[in-house]
Amino acid sequence: MSGVPDIEIVGSLADLPTSATGARHLVWWGNIGFMLIEGTGFALAAASYLYIMTQAPAWPPRSDALPGLLWSGIFTGLLLLSELPALWVLRCAHAKDARGVRWGSLVMTVFGFALLVPRGFEFAHLGVLWHQDAYGSVVWLLLVLHTTHIVTELGESAVQTAWLFTHQIGDDQFADVDDNGNYWTFVVLIWLPLYALIYWAPRAV
């Protein structure tokens, strides 16, 4: 009972590859885990928005203006457009195309910077400040949460681009590019329900 048991070698793992792509890869699952966490956070923030909305006699409250549609429309359009290079980079990563991921990541990074401009104007045209009332607080909450993701994705894409251009790209790095592209897609998709809540729920109610 006290010694280590005898062993019998029944096979070898030496012929297994040393990398994988997509859902076979370990880090892909970590990425999914973080999407689950952040997605839950967004869902709860959206639920808080709806909760406060159902308590309010008017939405938005009479002292507040409706949030502007121009800059949010520009942002949303640009964000959806940014999904194109992201999808292209995903394809290049799966095909192990070094040149494609380099230039594609650069385009994604440029989009990331560009998106900050309409997002800045969006904040200025929300029609309410965060400290005016609960409506203002929760609208700013949703927009700040999403902006945080834009900023972190921009940062990750920028750093990745710099590295990709200056180094030889291995299988694990193609997997990292794959994960970044997937997360970018998540950030694009999660914006759509938030956009509906912030800009259209006050107009529908």
Binding site: V10, T18, G33, I37, T40, S48, W130, H131, A134, L141
Partner: protein, 630 residues
């Protein structure tokens, strides 16, 4: 299994930590990280116990002046926050960190550096709360500081911010740990360990970690909203601004209820492992137990309103949450049946770990039953916010989580240290802890039924609460004394305990296949699994596969459902970046108590540390516009 010397030397070389302090700061060895988690949490448990004794002393006599209201309020806040955020969940995570790779026959966790980072953030939370206490800005509004009391109007100063940010630290640590554990269990199982052949403990940690990922965002969100109300004048929780104080309660308890099951479910894993080993037969009702854990995990998200039955919410909702809260007793009860059935049909050996399991059943069931009583929205109106519910929560947390944890500690101690704890002193400790706990907390059910509310620093003599309070104090003191004997046993056995060998208890799972203590690389070969109890295969040798690299850190990745070998993944080496990133995150969290500008500045700093962490070390590019050419 004893690998030959040449193999051992190569594995040691690949998997060793740098020596000394640098090794301590850079290690990514899951066993070392788990050990530091456990030592820290046990120290905090002791501090929380001292706070509890202090409060019990104050309550032993009516109109006592041992502590004034401020000190008492700080004590119950610090005690609750420490036990729930800094001890219970981290201890379960720590046990998972230590045991999951060993039980999987794997060399490390899926994300070794993330594990190190989790510990540093946890330590940041510990220091935030306790250094805050040393600086006399101790939180003093309980462990779930409701607004408006915790809002800017009624709690100026920074006590509530310390509480909220301590939570931010520990929740980020827990979220990182949960992703790590889920990825390890899903993708690093040994060949042949299909989900159907996975031991209950691994199911328990998988479910508890998924629950963590889904529930912790709620408390991160709500504490951020509270800090935001306090720091930058948002109106989430101020009725005057259109906010709602009940929103805080909904978000808090959406986290808070799953939290207690996140603490309980790993305990069911310990119980399953230990009852199986000491009944000397495979667990009865394995499928029932696994399904029960799954249903408890799902149901747990549908119960949170039972913490709010007195708030005056719509009656139909209260009816629903009553039924759901009652329903969760069914899977829990079936688990108890299966464990008792395992003992009934086995040949139980009553060593200390098994005695803890018996104490668990006898104690936790009382807590479960008092929970069924509070599940009724109507009856809860007499029971909530009284000492009845104080008794209930301690019975389920101490009986349901800490007793299995103490048993698990005794059970796996020989594997971790190579020594056996003293059986005799283990039984003395158990008698003190279990007897003292029941003596201390059973009277609290009666005190609640006699009208004593919770969180009161004193009470008048005319209420007749004194005798039971004194019994409660005596029992608590005995329990703490038992706890000290337990710790002394652990410490003394470390140097003077009898050598245990690899498998002193005759366990059924793979952690018993390697040496005690395990070498840094855990196990030399990848075991092949054909059933639920791989170590109970008669006298036949253990089937294994070789071929994993032994000259650098490499782990095996397998498929999610069938555990078919997929590829070999390089495993992270020791790194200073988790500590550096942890420091950057800590600086941002602390500074954001005082100024919102900490957020953008801190984000930039964190970005820099994360860049260092993830920067791949590969040769410079030769082609492309930034290539070196040639």
């Amino acid at each position: 299994m004893t690998p030959d010397d040449a193999l051992r030397t190569r594995l040691d070389e690949a998997w060793r930590d740098p020596p000394g302090l640098w090794g301590f700061l850079t290690t990514v060895d899951h066993k070392r990280i788990a050990a530091r988690y456990i030592v820290t949490a046990l120290l905090l448990m002791f501090l929380a116990g001292v706070l509890a004794l202090d409060m019990r002393w104050q309550l032993s006599v009516p109109d006592n002046d041992h502590m004034g209201p401020q000190l008492y309020d700080e004590s119950f806040s610090l005690h609750g926050s420490t036990m729930l955020f800094l001890v219970s969940v981290p201890l379960m995570e720590a046990m998972a960190f230590w045991l999951v790779p060993l039980m999987l026959g794997a060399r490390n966790m899926a994300f070794p550096r993330l594990g190190a980072f989790s510990y540093w953030l946890y330590l940041g939370g510990v220091l935030t709360l306790w250094i805050g206490h040393a600086m006399d800005i101790t939180p003093d509004l309980g462990w779930f500081e409701y607004p408006p009391l915790s809002g800017p109007t009624y709690s100026p100063g920074h006590r509530a911010d310390i509480w909220a940010q301590m939570i931010t630290f520990t929740e980020v640590a827990a979220l990182c740990a949960s992703v790590n554990i889920v990825a390890t269990i899903l993708k690093m199982r040994p060949p042949g360990m299909t989900l159907a052949r996975m031991p209950v403990f691994l199911w328990a940690m998988l479910i508890a970690s998924i629950m963590t990922s889904l529930s912790m965002p709620a408390i991160m969100l709500v504490t951020s909203m509270l800090i935001s109300d306090r720091l930058v004048s948002t109106h989430f929780f101020s009725p005057a601004g259109g906010g709602d104080v009940i929103l805080f309660q909904h978000l808090f308890w959406f986290f808070g209820h799953p939290e207690v099951y996140i603490i309980f479910i790993p305990a069911t894993g310990f119980v399953s492992s230990i009852v199986e080993a000491f009944s000397r037969r495979p667990l009865f009702g394995h499928n029932v137990i696994v399904l029960s854990i799954l249903s408890i995990g799902a149901l747990a998200f549908g119960l949170w309103v039972h913490h709010m039955f007195a708030v005056g919410l719509p009656r139909l909702g209260n009816d629903f949450y009553t039924a759901a809260s009652m329903a969760i007793a069914l899977p829990a009860g079936l688990q108890i049946f299966c464990w008792i059935a395992t003992m009934w049909s086995g040949r139980p050996r009553l060593d200390t770990p098994m005695l803890w399991m018996i104490a668990f059943v006898a104690t936790f069931v009382i807590g479960g039953l008092s929970g069924v009583m509070t599940a009724s929205a109507a009856l809860d109106l007499q029971l909530t916010d009284t000492y009845f519910v104080v008794a209930h929560l301690h019975y389920v947390l101490i009986g349901g989580a800490l007793f299995p944890l103490f048993g698990a500690f005794c059970y796996w101690y020989p594997k971790a240290t190579g020594r056996l704890m003293s059986e005799r002193w283990g039984k003395v400790a158990l008698t003190g802890i279990v007897g003292g706990f029941n003596l201390g907390f059973f009277p609290m059910h009666l005190l609640g039924l006699m009208g004593m509310p919770r969180r009161v620093y004193t009470y008048p003599a005319s209420m007749g609460w004194e005798p039971l309070n004194q019994v409660a104090t005596a029992g608590s003191a005995i329990a703490v004394a038992g706890g000290l004997v337990f710790v002394a046993n652990a410490l003394i056995s470390y140097w003077r305990g009898a050598p245990s060998g690899a498998d002193p208890w005759g366990g059924s799972s793979l952690e018993w296949a390697t040496e005690s203590p395990p070498p840094p690389w855990n196990i030399a070969y990848a075991p092949v699994v054909h059933g639920l109890t791989p170590m109970w295969n008669g006298s036949r040798p253990l089937p294994v596969m070789d071929g994993l690299a032994d000259d650098h850190r490499q782990v095996l990745i397998t498929s999610v459902t069938d555990a078919a070998p997929l590829y070999r993944q390089t495993s992270a080496s020791p790194s200073i970046w988790p500590l550096v990133a942890g420091l950057a995150v800590s600086a941002m969290f602390i500074a954001s108590i005082f100024t919102p500008w900490a957020v953008p500045v801190g984000t930039l700093l964190i970005g820099i540390t994360l860049t260092g962490w993830f920067w791949p070390r590969r040769p410079r590019a030769k082609q492309g516009p930034l290539g070196t050419g040639g």
